[in-house]
Amino acid sequence: MVEQVPLNHALIITTLMFFIGVYGFLTRKNLITMLISVEIMLNAVNLNFVFFDHYLFPGKLEGHFFSLFIIAIAAAEAAVAIAIFINLYRNIRSIDVEQVDKMKY
């Protein structure tokens, strides 16, 4: 793959994906879809790590392991986040992010 796809193209894809995630995070009204957006962002990061690892520093596998751990953490984070969402849902019967604004100013 190294010879056929330039690194920059790969990075363009991850960057796009990352900002798609950002876009989702900033626009989606549902908390769960926001979480989905975060996962997309993390996924982009993972790809970044893997691409760098593969293209530039093959063999040390640092990017590889970093991605591995990020995946694990993303899972943990998602679990806790969803627990909290459910808790919120029980309290206010909604998981609309725009209603999560009782505290402000």
Binding site: F25, M34, E98, V100, K104, Y105
Partner: protein, 631 residues
């Protein structure tokens, strides 16, 4: 140092002040009066001793009898406290102690039933102390210090009846007006000391020792002239020269003996003394300033005499008369030269100061006796008092004759010298002086006739003669008024310290005496019996009379300036400015902070997505700024 004891002349009244002041209200009976009187009595004795000792030696050098450094500003400038003896200070010592002693004695009778007897004598002693300290000052700053003390004691004494609003107002006015004048004095001192590097009279009054490196000038006058003019301003304030005179008539709110002592005989001549003290300096460096002195003196003497003719308050008449007489003295100083016959004006001025002290004090004490008897100041409520107060009448007449310049009373001699001095130099001033001599005779006898002759009024209680303790000082002063004219004054005091023979200038003398008699006759015509002729004449003068009656509206102008301009247009707006602009600005800063705080609260909207939006925007902006900067 044979004169060391002179310090006691000054110190004794201070002691009396301290005893009476600290013990105020606790001293038994009327002992405070005696403490003060005995103290001033000893001072008087010592003053005479000093005078005798000093004048009996032929030298007229300045003698430092006592000196101690009180405050050091730098290596050259320091305030010393000390006693300087020279002809004028010795003469002043005599005058002040004598008049003080008389007034102290008189007051024991006059103030007998007043509340605050202790306080009265304390203040009076304080005054004597300050006045004595002033005249023996060894340097300008010591003089200024005592000058201020004199002002304060005057303030305290004018406001003696402090629960009377008019007295309070008068004391305030007196202090503030003289304070304003003192401002000039102080600035003058600062300027003089800046150029000469000293406050010391020994150096300052010896112009040969002085050399100025300055050629600085301001509005066409050299700075030293300005300095001396400012110093004269201080003198003019204390001596009630136009236009700083307005406090003096009001100052009559104080007890009458106070008026006699302070506002007739002693404090008000401090201005004359000041100019006389610095006379060599004036003469050598600022002839222009002397011209101003002469002009102010001449103007005031006429101005005050005119007003005196129209007043009905016995003490105010005397007050304006005092102004007029001091104007005389200033005039004489102003026209004087230095040394020999040239210096006649100088001698004449101080001579008149000397004689005036006696007869004016006598006049005031007489007025006091009258007021004491009829309980009123208004001469329209008096009349025919000669029957009830024969001795007072006689004494008052002597004083009137003396001030009118009728020979052989003392006033004649001194006034004659003044007239002679002006005659020799400025004919116009001479004319004014002669006219004032006539006016003086007129208004004094107007007073005299209305009070002692005229139609008898109905009195609440029958007026009675004053008690002995009041009469005795008056008699002493009357003797002085008669005799002091014969003192060969020029032998003791002259501008250059050389003995000066005073001759009577007969042509001048005859003119003045004739004018004086004319004045007396007019007064006699008008006022000996109640008639409306005086009113007719007054009416014929029209607005001039009305203006004079209203003291030429100077008070009103002052009120306009102080209340209207300083108070309303400067102080009040300033206070407003402070609260509403400067302070408000500080508050505005706080308000702006709060305003911004409430404006930006929307950032904290509670919306997670907005938070994230700002977050990522922040990151990108930071990056962008760096990328932009590195390009």
């Amino acid at each position: 140092m044979e004169f060391q004891y002179t310090i006691w002349i000054v110190a004794l009244p201070l002691l009396a002040f301290l005893i009476n002041g600290l013990g105020s209200g606790k001293l038994p009976g009327k002992i405070s009066g005696w403490i003060a009187t005995i103290a001033i009595g000893i001072s008087t004795f010592l003053s005479y001793q000093t005078a005798f000792q000093y004048f009996s030696s032929p030298s007229r050098d300045k003698i430092i009898a006592f000196k101690t450094t009180w405050l050091r500003f730098n290596d050259t400038l320091h305030i010393d406290l000390g006693v300087l003896l020279d002809p004028i200070s010795v003469m002043m010592l005599v005058v002040i102690t004598t008049i003080s002693l008389m007034v102290f004695l008189y007051s024991q009778g006059y103030m007998k039933n007043e509340k605050g007897y202790d306080r009265y004598f304390a203040f009076l002693s304080l005054f004597s102390f300050s006045m004595l300290g002033l005249v023996v000052a060894t340097n300008l700053f010591q003089m200024y210090m005592f000058w201020e003390l004199v002002g304060v004691s005057s303030y305290l004494l004018i406001g003696f009846y402090y629960d009377k609003s008019s007295a309070v107002a008068a004391s305030k006015k007196a202090f503030i007006v003289t304070r304003f004048a003192d401002l000039g004095f102080l600035i003058g001192i600062l300027m003089v000391s800046f150029y000469t590097g000293t406050f010391d009279f020994e150096i300052l009054t010896n112009p040969d020792n002085l050399s100025f490196s300055t050629t600085a000038s301001f509005l066409g006058l050299s700075t030293i002239t300005w300095a001396l003019l400012l110093i004269f301003m201080g003198g003019a304030g204390k001596s009630a020269m136009f236009p700083l005179h307005i406090w003096l008539p009001d100052a009559m709110e104080g007890p009458t003996p106070v008026s006699a002592l302070i506002h007739a005989a002693t404090m008000v001549v401090a201005g004359v003394f000041l100019v006389a003290r610095l006379f060599p300096l004036y003469h050598a460096f600022a002839p222009t300033a002397l011209e101003v002195v002469a002009f102010v003196g001449a103007f005031t003497t006429l101005f005050a005499a005119l007003i005196a003719c129209t007043q009905y308050d016995i003490k105010r008449v005397l007050a304006f008369s005092t102004m007029s007489q001091i104007g005389y003295m200033m005039l004489a100083l102003g026209v004087s030269g230095y040394g020999g016959e040239e210096g006649l004006g100088y001698t004449a001025s101080l001579f008149h100061l000397f004689t005036h002290a006696f007869f004016k004090a006598l006049l005031f004490l007489g007025a006091g006796a009258i007021i004491h008897a009829v309980h009123s100041n208004d001469i329209r409520e008096m009349g025919g008092l000669r029957k009830y107060q024969p001795i007072t009448h006689l004494l008052f007449l002597i004083a009137c004759l003396a001030i009118a310049g009728i020979p052989p009373f003392s006033g004649f001699f001194s006034k004659d010298e003044i007239l002679a001095a002006t005659f020799a130099t400025h004919p116009i001033y001479f004319g004014i002086a002669v006219a004032v001599a006539g006016l003086t005779a007129f208004y004094m006898f107007r007073l005299y006739f209305i009070v002692f002759w005229g139609k008898e009024k109905t009195y609440d209680h029958t007026p009675h003669e004053a008690p002995t303790i009041m009469l005795l000082p008056m008699i002493v002063l009357a003797v002085g008024s008669v005799l002091t004219g014969f003192i060969p004054f020029g032998h003791f005091i002259s501008s250059d310290g050389q003995s000066l023979d005073l001759h009577i200038n007969w042509s001048v003398a005859i003119t003045s005496v004739a004018i004086a008699f004319a004045g007396i006759v007019v007064a006699w015509k008008f006022y000996k019996t109640e008639s409306d002729s005086s009113d007719k004449v007054a009416r014929s003068f029209g607005s001039v009379y009305t203006s004079a009656l209203n003291k030429f509206y100077i008070d009103e102008i002052y009120i306009l300036i102080t209340k209207g301009i300083v108070f309303r247009l400067i102080a009040q707006p300033l206070a407003w400015f402070d609260r509403n602009i400067i302070d408000a600005f500080m508050n505005l800063l706080a308000a702006i902070t709060n305003w911004i705080s409430s404006q930006i609260k929307e950032f904290q909207s509670g919306q997670v997505q907005k938070y994230a939006f700002i977050f990522i925007s922040g990151v990108l902006i930071i990056v962008l700024s760096f990328i932009y900067a590195t390009q």
